[in-house]
């Protein structure tokens, strides 16, 4: 005995069901009968106690049988849908293996592709993106002309010629009370006020050299591609899995680039005869000081004692280091955000 719902009303009908020649035969005591082609039948989840069938051509049509009827009707039923059509077709284990392989390659491409692509992005594109994002910084920018000249002089000291030409770097101080410095798309380097007023020019030179290295190595472009490309893609299907995967990738990526930028910065300081010791001191100080003070900087530049040690180790006891800026320039730089 089986229960039939016709999908028209909720009223159940008692019917007898049997399999005959590739079709499901239904009949009632009053003489009513029906024959349904096996191709139209689909098996639904009825739990352990029941076998539940539906029809692909009639929504709501349901035949509920005792679970032991499954044996007799088996030839009609085909395979039960389990994990979803695309996985049922290949099987769970092959699907898992294929999925793991695809996931691994997506992550690998996501990790490597920005690195490969970045050098091939025309500088002019990046400049347009940078200009669209940055503009002229509006009121945030510190516009004291003497201070600006001193800041540019400092960049010229550590990276001679980097500001020339159509793709030259542009440096700006921003009146934002957070310790930070950053390289932005389009060769913009911004330094926030505390990075100027709470350090000496030598340490700032180290920080600037680091940002210059990011621009020269196209790390900024790389980050941009990562953010717009694979990052967005992964976050789209996120769930926590995606977010974690993205974090792992972007962390190791950042560290790689940071280490490279540090090495470049040390080389630049050496060429400019500026001691790396003040930069090392700054890193040491930032990593131990109150979190509020350095949180922003730490976020974009993970500071470890290892990085400070790297700069300390680069100090040459026999070298004759010179001040990064003359007295007048240093004073002008210090006041860059105080005058308008």
């Amino acid at each position: 005995m089986a229960r039939l719902y016709d999908g028209v009303t909720a009223h159940p009908h008692n019917v007898q069901a049997s399999a005959r020649a590739g079709a499901l035969e239904l009949s009632q005591d009053d003489g009513w009968s029906d024959s349904i082609d096996a191709a139209l039948l689909k098996r639904l989840d009825g739990g352990k106690r029941e076998l539940r069938l539906g029809r692909t051509d009639r929504p709501g049509w349901r035949l509920v049988l005792p679970a032991d009827a499954a044996a007799e009707l088996q030839p009609l039923l085909g395979r039960e849908a389990r994990y979803g059509h695309w996985i049922d077709r290949v099987g769970l284990v092959p699907a898992l293996i294929a999925g793991a392989a695809i996931t691994a390659s997506v992550l690998a491409i996501g990790y490597l592709a920005p690195h490969w692509l970045a050098p091939h992005v025309p500088m002019s594109w990046e400049r347009n993106v940078g200009r669209a994002i940055v503009g002229d910084f509006g009121d945030l920018r510190c516009r004291d002309p003497k201070g600006q000249r001193a800041l540019e002089a400092l960049v010229d000291r550590v990276a001679p010629g980097s500001r020339g030409g159509p793709n030259g770097m542009k440096v700006a101080a921003l009146d934002v009370s957070v310790f930070n410095a950053a390289a932005l798309p389009g060769g913009y380097i911004v330094v926030f006020k505390p990075a100027i007023t709470e350090t000496d020019p030598e340490a700032l030179a180290g920080v600037l050299a680091h940002e210059v290295a990011h621009v020269r190595r196209r790390h900024v472009t790389e980050a941009l591609i990562r953010e717009l490309g694979i990052g967005a893609l992964i976050r789209l299907f996120a769930g926590n899995v995606g977010a974690n995967a993205e974090q792992i990738v972007s962390l190791s990526y950042t560290r790689d680039n940071e280490a490279q930028a540090d090495s470049d910065a040390i080389a630049m300081l050496k060429r400019a005869h500026i001691s790396p010791a003040p930069t090392a001191e700054l890193f040491k100080r930032l990593s131990t000081e109150t979190p509020q003070f350095s949180a922003e900087f730490l976020q974009s530049h993970p500071l470890t004692s290892k990085r400070a040690r790297k700069f300390t180790a680069a100090v040459d006891p026999h070298a004759r280091y010179e001040p990064a800026l003359g007295r007048a320039d240093a004073d002008a730089l210090f006041d860059i955000c105080t005058k308008t």
Binding site: Y5, K48, R62, A132, I133, G138, A238, G239
Partner: protein, 364 residues
């Protein structure tokens, strides 16, 4: 003859029962988790379809189980469509906002952000409505499904208006907003030919909502009283003891505040859902819900503990536990005439829960 009694047939027998068990669900939970990880999360749409198919089929309503017919594919496509609609919008805001800030146009940036949030609230309300409508349209019983003919655009507007009003009152009038929104949402829904009815009022909920406001403040005041008495003490007997005590009390005060708020909110929601279920009906069927604050707390703490002791695997059981909890506390009374319960004529939505998914709404 065809009238089914939903009221307890025999003593102790309930009209709605959950018949699943965690061992039977384990293979689903485990393979879902594996597949989600191996597909970078893409499988989660199919995973939730499988989960619902199981949970619905293990939910007995009077004499037959429920059935879930939603598919992972339609949820995936729905999600893609919504993302395609929303992505340019988000991207535009993401580029426009820093560009305006960088040019010093703070007011314009603030205005854009304000409009952005307005749009988000509207879409959030719309998403809730559509999710409910979609779920009803994929829920079958006796071969009959639910649904709604209301596309939900107006509900989004009502949601925005009521939330904005209650925000302006610092959420003091929130119970009125929440109850009226419940009514609007459910009145638009139907099962078969029967329209849901809902007449929830804020009447019985005012006190609980007041507690959400006052208990954390009262707790802080009480703590402060203790704090000051210790301060007075430290004036007389100088030493390091009272200072250490001060630190502890300060931490305790903060804790008190942050524990009191969610507890009181839970206390409000427990009553809210009991009243909401009692105020909702379908044809001759009346509903009831009997979960207390402590039972809700037990559910949440249980979920948390399960996730911790299983190193995260327990997360895959949250949906199961939440559903089982809802079903075990849900009551249905009255009768339903199955001959009059004809097929729903509502338009079955195609886009699944894209919007709700995009805004991360919906527990199961």
């Amino acid at each position: 003859m065809d009238a089914y009694r939903a009221a307890p047939v025999a003593h102790g027998e309930r009209a709605v029962r959950f018949t699943g068990n965690w061992r039977e669900y384990l293979p689903i939970a485990a393979t879902n988790a594996l597949l989600i990880v191996c597909t970078l999360g893409v499988y989660r749409f199919w995973a939730s379809a499988r989960q619902r198919r199981y949970l619905w089929s293990r939910t007995e309503f009077i004499d037959d189980s429920l059935e879930w017919t939603g598919t992972g594919k339609e949820m995936f496509l729905g999600f893609l469509i919504v993302i395609a609609v929303l992505a340019p919008f988000f991207l535009f805001i993401q580029l426009l906002f820093p560009a305006l800030v960088a040019r010093g146009k703070i007011d314009a940036a603030g205005g854009i952000m304000f409009l952005f949030y307005i749009a988000l609230i509207y879409l959030g309300g719309f998403a809730r409505f559509r999710a409910l409508r979609y779920r009803l349209s994929r829920t079958w019983w006796h071969g009959i499904r639910g649904g709604s003919d209301d596309p939900g655009w107006n509900y989004g507007g009502e949601y925005l208006g009521r939330i904005a009003l209650s925000a302006m009152s610092l959420f003091i009038v929130y119970p009125w907003a929440a109850t009226r929104l419940w009514n609007s949402r459910w009145k638009a829904m139907s099962f078969g030919p029967l329209q849901f009815r809902a007449n929830l009022t804020a009447e019985g909920l005012k006190l609980r909502w007041a507690l959400v406001y006052f208990v954390p403040i009262a707790a802080m005041a009480l703590g402060a009283l203790v704090l000051f008495s210790i301060l007075g003490l430290s004036d007389r007997q100088l030493g390091s003891g009272p200072m250490a005590g001060l630190g502890i009390i300060f931490v305790a005060l903060i804790l008190l505040f942050y524990v009191a708020i969610p507890l009181m909110t839970l206390n409000w929601y427990a009553k809210y859902y009991r009243e909401a279920a009692a105020a909702t009906s379908l044809g001759e069927l009346e509903f009831g819900f009997d979960a207390t604050t402590m039972q809700w707390l037990g559910l949440f703490l249980g979920n948390l503990a399960l996730a911790i002791v299983t190193f995260g695997f327990g997360l895959t059981y949250w949906g199961y536990r939440n559903w089982a909890f809802m079903v075990r506390h849900l009551h249905v009374y009255g009768t339903i005439d199955v001959s009059d319960l004809t097929q729903s004529t509502t338009h079955a939505p195609r886009e699944a829960e894209g919007f709700a998914d995009a805004f991360d709404i919906g527990a199961i």
